[in-house]
Symmetry: C2
Subunit: 906 residues, 2 copies
Amino acid sequence: MAKKWVYLFNEVDQAEKHVDDDWEGVRGLLGGKGANLAEMVRIGVPVPPGFTVTTEACNAYLESESVFSDEIWDQELEALRVVEKETGKKFGSADNPLLVSCRSGAKFSMPGMMDTVLNIGLNDETARAMIKLTGDERFVYDAYRRLIQMFGSVVMGLSDDLFEHVITGYRKKANVENDSQLTANDWKEITQEFKTIFRRNASHEFPADPYEQLILATEAVFKSWNGKRAVDYRNASGIPHDLGTAVSIVTMVFGNMGEKCATGVAMTRNGSTGEKIIEGDYLTNAQGEDVVAGIRLTKDISQLKEEMPKAYGEFEEIASRLEKHYRDMQDVEFTIENGKLWMLQTRDGKRTAQASVRIAVNMMEEGLISKKEAVLRVAPEQVDFFLHPQFSIEAVDVAKELGQHFASGLNVSPGAALGVVAFDADLAETWAKKEGKKVIMVRPETKPDDVHGMLAAEGIITSRGGRTSHAALVARQFGKPAVVGVSALKIDLGKREMQVGDIIINEGEWVSIDGTEGEIFVGKLETTIPDIKDPWLDKLLKWADEYRRLGVWANADYPVDARRARDYGAEGIGLCRSEHMFFESERLPHVRKMIMTDLPIERKEALDAVLPFQRDDFAGLFRAMDGLPVIIRLLDPPLHEFLPNNIDLMRELSDLKIRLQHAGNLSEIDALLEEVKEKEQILKRVEGLREENPMLGLRGVRLGIHVPELTTMQVRAIFEAACLVTQEGIKVYPEVMIPLTSHVNELAIQRKVLEAEAMNVMKEKDLTIDYKFGTMIEIPRAALTADKIAQYAQFFSFGTNDLTQTTFGISRDDAEASFMIEYMENGILPDNPFATIDKDGVGELMRIAVAKGRSVNPELECGICGEHGGEPQSIQLCHDLGLTYVSCSPFRVPIARLSAAHAAIK
Amino acid sequence: MAKKWVYLFNEVDQAEKHVDDDWEGVRGLLGGKGANLAEMVRIGVPVPPGFTVTTEACNAYLESESVFSDEIWDQELEALRVVEKETGKKFGSADNPLLVSCRSGAKFSMPGMMDTVLNIGLNDETARAMIKLTGDERFVYDAYRRLIQMFGSVVMGLSDDLFEHVITGYRKKANVENDSQLTANDWKEITQEFKTIFRRNASHEFPADPYEQLILATEAVFKSWNGKRAVDYRNASGIPHDLGTAVSIVTMVFGNMGEKCATGVAMTRNGSTGEKIIEGDYLTNAQGEDVVAGIRLTKDISQLKEEMPKAYGEFEEIASRLEKHYRDMQDVEFTIENGKLWMLQTRDGKRTAQASVRIAVNMMEEGLISKKEAVLRVAPEQVDFFLHPQFSIEAVDVAKELGQHFASGLNVSPGAALGVVAFDADLAETWAKKEGKKVIMVRPETKPDDVHGMLAAEGIITSRGGRTSHAALVARQFGKPAVVGVSALKIDLGKREMQVGDIIINEGEWVSIDGTEGEIFVGKLETTIPDIKDPWLDKLLKWADEYRRLGVWANADYPVDARRARDYGAEGIGLCRSEHMFFESERLPHVRKMIMTDLPIERKEALDAVLPFQRDDFAGLFRAMDGLPVIIRLLDPPLHEFLPNNIDLMRELSDLKIRLQHAGNLSEIDALLEEVKEKEQILKRVEGLREENPMLGLRGVRLGIHVPELTTMQVRAIFEAACLVTQEGIKVYPEVMIPLTSHVNELAIQRKVLEAEAMNVMKEKDLTIDYKFGTMIEIPRAALTADKIAQYAQFFSFGTNDLTQTTFGISRDDAEASFMIEYMENGILPDNPFATIDKDGVGELMRIAVAKGRSVNPELECGICGEHGGEPQSIQLCHDLGLTYVSCSPFRVPIARLSAAHAAIK
């Protein structure tokens, strides 16, 4: 028996059998479009008769180097005979001609990447028959010229411009604006001219034989699979090249044969809000492409109910049937030909994040899908939408048209923000706090002492830095939209302006930034603000919580963050960076004094001055997290971060010395000399602390060992705070975390210091605090020796930012600014390892650490507090590795909840 | 049966039985001293009769909280009876009294850490008997007062000053310089005074009862095991605290009873040269301690042959017997009492490295030890001695006495050097090359463009940097003695002077540095130069080669280094750092141009200019290594290393601007402005290349991918050179190595570029070169994914310097300058991981990499080219991991050969 290359739309059962009853297989065989047309036929939806030539036929054709086998053609003709019988029309007939379209359709949607030819079957003879049948000469010649034009470009590869040029000429001659204003005679003449153009450029006549049209069109669709556009698209989308495309031959139906005809597109639910109302547009007496092209003003689908109540009733019923059948919201095309409804296409409808959530929840409640399916229907990243203001799509389109687009950068912290540009943190703070201005802070890069400005600003722009630069981290932490690494941006801090190309923006002028997309606009764009309190989202996340096994904690340094995290569903604080508090203006002088002095007594004084602040910070955090664990990491960054930059100091010194040369009198000289002396002292200390590679230097636990008083002070602050809130009736579970451990002895030493001081405080207050002692695992050696380390740690927390840096030997800031982008562009790295955990390297170390750690202590609490803790793929890995929890920025807690559920369900 | 707590010297067989015939067990039971005395008795060497109270007795005593059990004391008395019988003397007898010494002796030698009491048995009565017997009142009272003094300080814990003060008074009164000039009467009076002091301070009489003396002395030795000095010593030396000490009771023999008496110390071979000649000193009519104290001029042992031929003959025979028995050179003490030779101690003799080698070789040839044993007898580090000039021990002692010691630092590159101080590389080179001066180059730290000065200098001093700082690496590489990280050193480049404490050394003044010990001296010290061509060493290393399984390759960048490495026995070049050549003065301008330009054409021009130099470099290397493999690593360091430092540039700019303000005329202003512009351009590029953590930045393979022309140029140079020397008849085996791989895709991409260019060159030259392509494994991720990487690499070379940095998250330069020292001092790190491979962390990654790599390619060549490749413990690890070879600096090749043999034999 010959192989079956062609399936009629009503032969879907046979197709299913051929691929062992696998729906994906049917889509693979018939293409998405062909499969859905056949499926609609099966469930009784009216579809114009037709058939599909399989992807297998396409592959056979391509493999045989473009030999169209007789077997395939014979089957195609046979199917055509059946269609003729069904429609009562005849292909090529001079009485009642059958016209068909030839449409490509691969397994995966590749919009606009492959080709379609409409109106096949028209020639001078059949055109005359059509005119006789429809009485509409204009319509027929318009269809005829379209066939020649599409056939010319799709099948013969002629430039479309050749044809459009002619139409433009006719418009000019007739002095009209639109094609719709051209007459029947115009189109007739144009049809003749198109034939001439075809002959001249394709070196032969336009084929009048409908069968020649059909075979050439089928072949052209096959060939289009290997066209450059399609290959590029597949490369970019990761679609395999060996799938092939199917070709569907569909009887033409016309919505433009009079007032009882219409054509339209619709979604079975609202694609923006998810509301259960059919949304769509249609036109009476029109062709499908007219609806999309926006040439004529379309009508809302609700009007169809009044205009053609019967057809609409049928349509409504079909929409509901399709949703039930496909168990998802559908995006459909339809045509009404003389009152008869035809469905031309159905597919899962595109929707906004908000709609996605509501549709999933509603469909579960309607009994269409299960709870698990509802949870899986929403991609975790879609939740982000609810957390940040967004620019409306319209506003962005308008801005782009008006040339307001300024620059693009890395989309490191989502959401939209607008404000006036401020080029330093102090100004940003002053404008925001004192003058109530909305501010966008712009810096080449940010440092810890810029944080007050970043907090006051609406959003942040930097010209340097990568996805995990300081600016990016802080912005995400505080939910501030940010665009960083805008390499085209030239910032002139002297002139107080920034420039891209010819556009200059001065300090104080308005900009709008889209942190979701990484775009910057000149001026003010309109924003819309979705709501995390969305009831559908709330329900969905609660369902997600039923499935997930991973805990979801948050990284938070301040009570306000902790409260937000808890609101969003966080079950603990996985990381409080205790040093962030050191940068605040009341404390920084003490911290600097502590660093500058060589005298233990002065160091003690300085630390004593910081203690009450730290205690209050921690107490606030404990109150916010009443009843939940709070992990506090002891001081981590190198000390020089708390001092001014050495290059700034050198510049200032150089300026001072120049001024000194011009000083007019002795008292001025004395004052300047004094200032020089002071700056030189600071510079000396800064240079003493200078390290070639601070990331690998004196920081983390090394600092705690080097300056044990620092550990003691922080531990005292933690336990005094814990005792204080315990007395208020708050339940407190502090976990003290040592950063950057690489050798178990570091931990052993710090644990001793820490336990002694904790004991001191608890004795003083006559209270017992239930606490844990643990460490970050952020150095490869710690992971590799986790069995030793677990003997001194009650918990591990993977610091995957640092662990990625050391495992790759890549400094995140430097790399994302330079070669990392190149690496991702060239496919050397499949993902940015600072965004998604590198499974083979970093993930392997995590696996080793968990296994070795739990071999010693099976109850070991293992979490992650790096930036990856809020990223879906990484959360999947954490689930697979059996971690206890993930901890992420408060704003990513909902995303993490959903991701963890996905991981558990998958 | 009661436990045996006391063994007579002739009961060693019983002791051996008690510990299951294990000689180490005998040493553990009887202490080193006791065991050797017993052993000498067994082989018939004359030893004064005596016995040993075991370490078990000591431990029992200490455990029972200082209760001396009757059982032990009874056994001690019983043994004493046997000694009385043997000697014919009687303990406490008024006629012929037996005197004994009570000596501590633990399993491991703890020199000076525990106590000894001599002359036990003396009291007024026995003293009189002794006077009658010897006729020497002075001798007897001198011995008596010594007993009281030693007993007072050792047993009663009195201050020795109390006693010495009395003797000083007598010397003054008698107006003499030395104790030897005091009379019998003086000593008699002193003895009386000592008794008074004893009574007054110990609150009871000096015990006249010899048995009381004996039991108290025994207890005192036991207790001394837990004395502070001994505990500290054991902590420092890693000796367990539960071993306990034994106590040997030995019959006193006297070398000072007349002219037929003598006493001396000797080595059975020359401890400095290893020559087979007995070396030693003796005194006639003297006590042992007089020989050591240097109060009297000692005689060479060769004179004893003439003075007492019989005793000497006997001594010579015993020396030979002891060597045969112990199978090692012995260090002995002897006394001749009235013509009768007594051996008082024997132990393995200390020796210089040179002697160690010669003795091992000679003893093997004499049939005393096996070849394996000979190889194991020499510690690998001892070989270093042969490679570098050394200061003579005497010269150092004298310098210290004269206050010439200037400062201490890290001993990073061994050997002695002296020269005049030069504070910059250019001056160092000028003085050395133009004026023929010997120069020591002194810098705060060094950079690649200081190398020409370092090469010209005799030695290097830096105030910053650690064991693997640039200065240290280059110094070791070129065998230049160096002391780095001299933190006390203040260098004032402006004043051209350096200072430690009050001592200031100006540029041009002489200093001497000891890179072996890490010491710096003011002025010129005398050096001695051993020789690597030492025939004994040569023989020993050849024997070592018979055993080792690891190959020994060398790191060499220049032909001269390669030749030296080959001379020293290297079997290949494991690492040629191709970038070192970039720093040479003819090439640096081209390299800088390559970096500064944005134009591909200019970059190409610059690279083309470098190509011939590189080709010649490689050709030279290939010629030197004719027939052996040469691994060339492609460019590794970040580009900014080839440009001036940004801080220097800023300083220069600041100076220029000040000068500009004072410029007198227009042409001067123009010239200055031009200079400013140029510097600003360079500064801009330098700042563009600036990275926060260059160690983790754009370097290694990342550079090769970023600037593929660089890879192409280097590969072309390698293959053109290979073709060139092949035509000369040289056998060449190049291996091209990619540095800093972290992802297999990096390797895949570079391999493609490389193979294409290699093929181009081979086609052009019509030759086929047999080459390998491989990668450094110096990033944790590379080790963790070695199975993937091995699919693209024919060899792995562990870069353990970088691998240690990333595995620990520690920057070597920064760390060794700051907390690493602290870590080692506090025992947080047992060893410096930059000196000895960290087995648990870095070693584990190496294990994973070898296992995963060989799982894909069982023939995978695995080597190591980090600094650790020349360090014995690390070589042991490399052997255990099954590496193919170790590669180290040429100067360490002999050490590595011996270490590899040790590893294989163990």
